[in-house]
Amino acid sequence: MIELIGITVLWIFLFGYLIIGSIDFGAGFYSFYAKITNKKHSIRQIIDRYLSPVWEVTNVFLVFFMIGLIGFFPDSAYYYGTALLVPGSVALVLLAIRGSFYAFANYGARESNIYLFLYGITGLLIPAALSTVLTISEGGFIVRTSGDVHLLLLELFVNPYSWIVVMLAIVSVLFISATFLTYYANKAKDKDALLLMRRFSMIWSGPTILLSFLVFLTLSTHNEAHFQAMLDESWIFLLSLVSFVLALWFIYKQKYLGLAFTFVCLQFGFAFFGYGYTHLPYILYPYITIFDNVTSPEMGITLIMAFIAGLFLLLPSLYLLLRLFLFNAEYVQGK
């Protein structure tokens, strides 16, 4: 029971990070794009107005996932920790550059192209780096020889599956972010920005769905068992596809843009939870499963209780944040 609650909580937070992080990462890229193409006034203001109050919250989702993983499945700290020193450190440095340069650019000296460039480019590199952890979790890249755990970095580097996952991560970020900003621009009643972001949504939709299929197909060469499990639960992925089509249709028609973004979330939600569900019971093929490596019941129950208590604190606060900034028409329109 504890292991199921634990993995569900963690997966929900990772999904939260996927959506909120993607909006944030993509927005950084579009902001930079707008700057160098001098489309300054329209979308950059929209992006600034959304990002300013929420950037710190995004990061916490990631930290939460990580600490939760150690808490519920302490052995994963050992395996992933030992194996991921180099890629993990690189991702951390990228995150550090992004976080500090956002603050420097926004609160400190305005309008530095270097800061904006770093901010924009890290927005694409970070999801690329983080997505390789999913690839690694499929097994074959972390090996245990005579008690020592190693990462086969070279194998990871020449593996086609791993590159397709990276590409999917990047286009997904651009797609999710564009659909959200389309919706937000609409709320802000900014026609220019709306049309621009709608165009980006359409542009990135094709690659997103294409690469999703490719990931699915190449997984069969890499982890046959997981591929088979996904086939068995293919209805989840069909729902994901349906959501995608609906979202695209609304965006194309420029109608119900809030609903469109909800369908984008559903599209990724179905795919992500379907992927996670069929990945079980493994956290890391073939070494760590949620059943064998779960923490003690005492710790598990205490963590779950702390989590519930925490939610009582967080949900009202998050609601307040969203009400004041996201769903407040006056704020969104910059009044």
Binding site: P53, V57, L92, L95, A96
Partner: protein, 444 residues
């Protein structure tokens, strides 16, 4: 050394934490002063205080951003560099780590709201209310992380059977013996350090012959904070010493070069140790003081290092760090005391230039003291990572790439260390306080 993962991991941990702790400390302390200043401003209808709160909040945001960044690094790095330790710690002490993220979350949400709603409420007091969750969130995160560190010094709340941890009690582990003294000392020193930094900024401007009331009010408000928290720091610093004497006697003994267990123990300041003869040269000895520090009785018996096998001794150089911390603690208390005496007795000038200079120097000294205190605590735990259970050398990563990562992170911290002050100075120079007051930007 370049190929010894243990030494390199220690070095990298030291650099990351040494950097993070400065930002974390001010991250915990400054919100209190923002909140107090805004409150006074609203109550007295004095827009100087409101501007003070606004300007502090602006600087604070940038510090928090870098604090979050370095904090995220250390959060992951602990697993990357000390995987075996985190595997064990995750089983026993995951609870406060987990709750710390909730505290961050809480703080992050309200900081976002606070910064962007200065003029959104009809009653200013509603905006002030938003500062309370920030104060609670940041102090709570310090509290939770400190319990983890306390646990490393006095592990509790589990049994070991055949090398496996059993009978785990997360709450007992969290509220361990070292927790009360450590927690109170860490929190008050964070408030003290922040107060001195803010006071130093005001004093610096006054030294530059800026004589606006705004700076004098800022100085006075923060100096009261300095005084209160420096007294509190000395008191719970003394309690920390008593804690060590009882639960971690080897750390206190190493910090004091106290080899023989004896009654009427002397306190040693400074000095040079001859390691073979175990004789101290040039030190200042204060009779009975160590017994008083340890047990409040001049005749009390203080355990010496010779009671422990030599391979379990902490490095003896922590003596100097202990001394630095105590000296600075006395200095800070003295400076804030003199300021208050000068202020309330009209015969003296509390804006005396020498006093202002001392206040300005107090800020870097307070930061130095934080670093010295942590080095004394963490190095004083050597060779244990989990005192009595796990050794540092057995828990580090076995990877061959730690050196490259050390270089990578050093470059990152060097650039941040250069950029952060530059940006802060530029931000505040662009718009100085007088100009902002003239513009009547502040609406009450």
């Amino acid at each position: 050394m370049i190929d010894d993962p243990v030494t390199l991991s220690r070095l990298l941990t030291f650099i990351t934490l040494g950097f993070h702790i400065i930002l974390a400390t001010v991250g915990v302390g400054i919100p209190i002063f923002i909140s107090i200043a805004e409150f006074i401003g609203i109550k007295k209808k004095d827009h100087h205080y409101i501007l003070l709160a606004k300007r502090w909040a602006r600087g604070y945001t940038i510090l928090v951003a870098v604090g979050v960044v370095t904090g995220t690094i250390i959060g992951f790095q602990l697993s990357l560099l000390w995987p075996t330790f985190m595997q064990a710690a995750g089983k026993i002490i995951a609870l406060p780590l987990f709750m710390e993220t909730f505290a961050f979350f809480f703080e992050a949400i309200f900081l976002g709201i606070y910064l962007y709603t200065w003029n959104r409420f009809k009653k200013p007091i509603y905006h002030w209310l938003l500062s309370i969750p920030i104060v609670i969130g940041s102090s709570a995160s310090a509290f939770f992380i400190t319990t983890v560190n306390a646990f490393m010094n006095t592990p509790n709340g589990f049994d070991v059977e055949n090398g496996v941890f059993t009978n785990i009690q997360p709450l007992v582990a969290m509220f361990n013996a070292s927790m009360p003294s450590k927690m109170s000392h860490v929190l008050t020193t964070a408030y003290l350090t922040s107060a001195f930094i803010l006071a130093a900024i005001a004093a610096f401007h006054l030294l530059r012959n800026k004589s606006h009331q705004y700076y004098k009010k800022a100085l006075h408000l923060t100096m009261i904070g300095c005084f209160v928290f420096s007294i509190a720091t000395m008191i719970n610093g003394d309690i920390s010493g008593k804690f060590l004497a009882k639960y971690q006697p080897e750390k206190l003994a190493a910090a004091e070069w106290h080899f023989e267990t004896e009654e009427n123990a002397t306190l040693l300041l400074g000095g040079i140790l001859d390691p073979d003869e175990r004789e101290v040269k040039f030190g200042i000895e204060i009779p009975y003081a160590l017994s008083i520090l340890a047990f409040n009785r001049p005749s009390a018996e203080v355990i010496g290092l010779n009671e422990f096998p030599e391979e379990l001794w902490p490095p003896l150089y922590i003596h100097y760090f202990f001394n630095i911390m105590i000296f600075i603690g006395m200095f800070l208390a003295a400076v804030s005391f003199i300021y208050l005496v000068f202020y309330y007795f009209n015969r003296f000038n509390s804006l005396n230039r020498w006093l202002l200079r001392a206040i300005v120097i107090g800020a870097p000294l307070a930061i130095l003291s934080i670093e010295a205190g942590w080095i004394m605590t963490e190095v004083g735990r050597q060779p244990w990572i989990l005192r009595g259970f796990l050794m540092v050398e057995d828990t580090a990563t076995t990877s061959n790439h730690v050196f490259a990562m050390l270089v990578l992170f050093s470059l990152l911290y060097i650039s941040l260390a250069i950029l952060l002050p530059t940006i802060l100075i530029r931000l505040f120079k662009k718009k100085d306080a007088e100009k902002e007051l003239e513009e009547h930007h502040v609406i009450l």
